[in-house]
């Protein structure tokens, strides 16, 4: 259904009806060309809450059974309440256009151990649209900061029944962040390690406020309270905290310490053998052993609570830990 705005022509006083979104019209009585000005608004979209309470609870209970959570969570855990809310998000589309030129260096080592550095010139055009989303209010301890899903039925029909969080951050701040994010992504996508020339232009193409339905599910486990959130459109768990399992922690530290020690000791023994006789093997083995021990310790340290989502103090995931481990090994390699 089209929405029309009723106005009076300032020239002849005739009643004019203007379709929503239009800004220019010709008065049907006197023919005056009119331009309608008002506050510059933001396009607002609300997604329809498709998930019912039972589905949100079922998603939570299904989530309990995955990801090294307490093994008896499904049996002992008790849902206390589940209710939907609308959270506001800024969604911006930003275009980056420009060029990044420079070079990358590749090291080649010949059989005598001589190192030759090859300089490979690169010129990369960046012309890409980037979508950025960010929550437009304080998310508290919900663990939601960005919007992953942008597809679904839109409707404002649920607005009267579902509590809605008001936007508290400005659109200008959102646009500034989106531009910074797009620039960073553009530079990363170019893969030019040594930049000699860069000219990038950033344009904010579109800004939308999205109200997104989310189910908050609170549950208890052995007298402790936990919470997770379920996507009201897709029905998937978005974020949450759940109890870990002491057995997994104990296994991790036991096998981690044993495995790390075996790898380190094995590499030292192998490096010392007459047919290998290469100290580098021992160095690599020590690093790998230390990484295994580090990962096991991290799991032991934080394994009492499993966390999913975008929490500020979120513990590093396996991917992050592997990145950390790679950085440590690179640093050690550089020191040798």
């Amino acid at each position: 259904m089209d929405i029309s705005v009723g106005l009076n022509c300032p020239t002849c006083g005739g009643a004019i009806s203007l379709p929503e979104g239009e800004t220019t019209i010709s008065c049907q009585y006197c023919g005056s060309a009119l331009f309608v000005e008002g506050d510059q608004g933001v396009t607002t979209i609300a997604f329809k809450n498709k998930a019912l309470k039972d589905a949100a609870v079922a998603s939570t209970q299904h989530w309990w059974t995955h990801g090294l959570k307490a093994r008896d969570l499904k049996k002992v855990g008790k849902i206390n309440e589940a209710y939907p809310i609308y959270l506001p998000f800024w969604k911006t589309t930003t275009r980056v256009a420009g060029w990044i030129c420079g070079y990358e260096e590749r090291r080649h080592t010949d059989q005598k151990g001589n190192v030759r550095v090859e300089k490979i010139p690169k010129e990369v055009m960046v012309l890409q649209d980037y979508v950025f989303s960010e929550i437009a209010c304080d998310p508290g301890d919900l663990g939601i900061r960005t919007l992953k899903n942008m597809v679904g039925e839109t409707s404002f029909a649920d607005f009267d029944m579902i509590p809605t969080f008001e936007a508290t951050t400005s659109k200008d701040a959102a646009v500034t962040k989106a531009k910074g994010d797009a620039l960073a992504k553009a530079r990363a996508s170019a893969h030019v390690p040594h930049v000699t020339f860069e000219k990038l232009h950033v344009f904010a193409k579109a800004l939308t406020m999205i109200y997104y339905p989310i189910w908050v599910v609170r549950y208890s486990y052995r007298d402790r309270m936990y919470m997770d959130t379920v996507d009201g459109v897709t029905g998937q768990v978005m974020s949450g905290r759940a109890p870990g399992d002491p057995l997994f922690q104990a296994l991790a530290v036991t096998f981690g310490a044993a495995g790390g020690g075996l790898v380190a000791a094995g590499s030292i023994i192998y490096a010392g053998a007459s047919y290998a006789n290469d100290v580098r093997i021992a160095g690599v083995g020590l690093v790998v052993g230390a990484v295994i021990l580090f990962l096991a310790y991290r799991f032991f340290r934080h394994g009492s609570e499993r966390v999913q989502g975008e929490f500020k103090e979120k513990h590093a995931g396996v991917g992050d830990l592997l990145k950390q481990a790679q950085q440590v090994s690179k640093t050690l390699e550089g020191l040798r």
């Binding site: 331009f35 000005e37 060029w99 070079y103 010139p121 690169k122 010129e123 012309l127 649209d129």
Partner: protein
């Protein structure tokens, strides 16, 4: 989602203007359709930026052919028309049209009014067009043989004009040039 036009056209007096804190009248021209153009006729907006380019220095790896070609053309500096599509196009179409029309500017006769033909909404402002002109210039330099490493240049925008070029929508819904 319905695309809003950033530009306002008065069919009574033929004035095109933009509102961004105040009214700014725009200089524009409308290209005439080819007599052979068949199908749904539309006008695509372009910013035609007249700019002066001065290349002070550059460094191109493996650009032998580039230098020869450049020498024949008579240098790196001069005035040029840069065409920037003003419609909301995808990145591929944007680049293709910008480079194509800048490297070989369209020739057309003009008409005074749009008539009943549809104007595709303009989504790119005059200021953005000036920035994108800079991008098109570097693109044309970079697309020469060799790998661009450094470009020290100045691009001064002397004038910007809005040009509506004719396009025809074919049976598949694609827009084809109607010149």
């Amino acid at each position: 989602m319905k695309q809003k036009d950033k530009l306002f056209y008065c069919a009574q007096c033929g004035t095109m203007h933009v509102r961004n804190g105040g009214v700014e009248k725009l200089d524009y021209e409308i290209a005439e359709f080819s007599p052979n153009a068949q199908g749904e006729k539309v006008f695509m907006p372009f910013w035609r930026v007249y700019a002066s380019l001065i290349v002070r220095s550059k460094n191109v790896e493996g650009g032998t052919l580039f230098k020869i070609a450049n020498f024949l053309k008579g240098g790196d500096s001069g005035n040029m028309f840069i065409y920037i599509p003003a419609a909301d196009l995808n990145t591929g179409d944007f680049r293709r049209m910008a480079v194509q029309f800048t490297s070989s500017p369209p020739r057309y006769s003009t008409r005074l009014k749009f008539g009943n033909e549809v104007r595709i909404p303009a989504a790119i402002s005059k200021q953005e067009a000036a920035e994108l002109a800079d991008f098109v210039v570097v693109t044309m330099e970079a697309e020469q043989p060799g790998v661009l490493q450094r470009l020290d240049y100045t691009l001064t925008v002397n004038d910007t004009k809005l040009v509506y070029l004719p396009y025809v929508r074919n049976a598949q819904g694609q827009l084809m040039p109607g010149l």
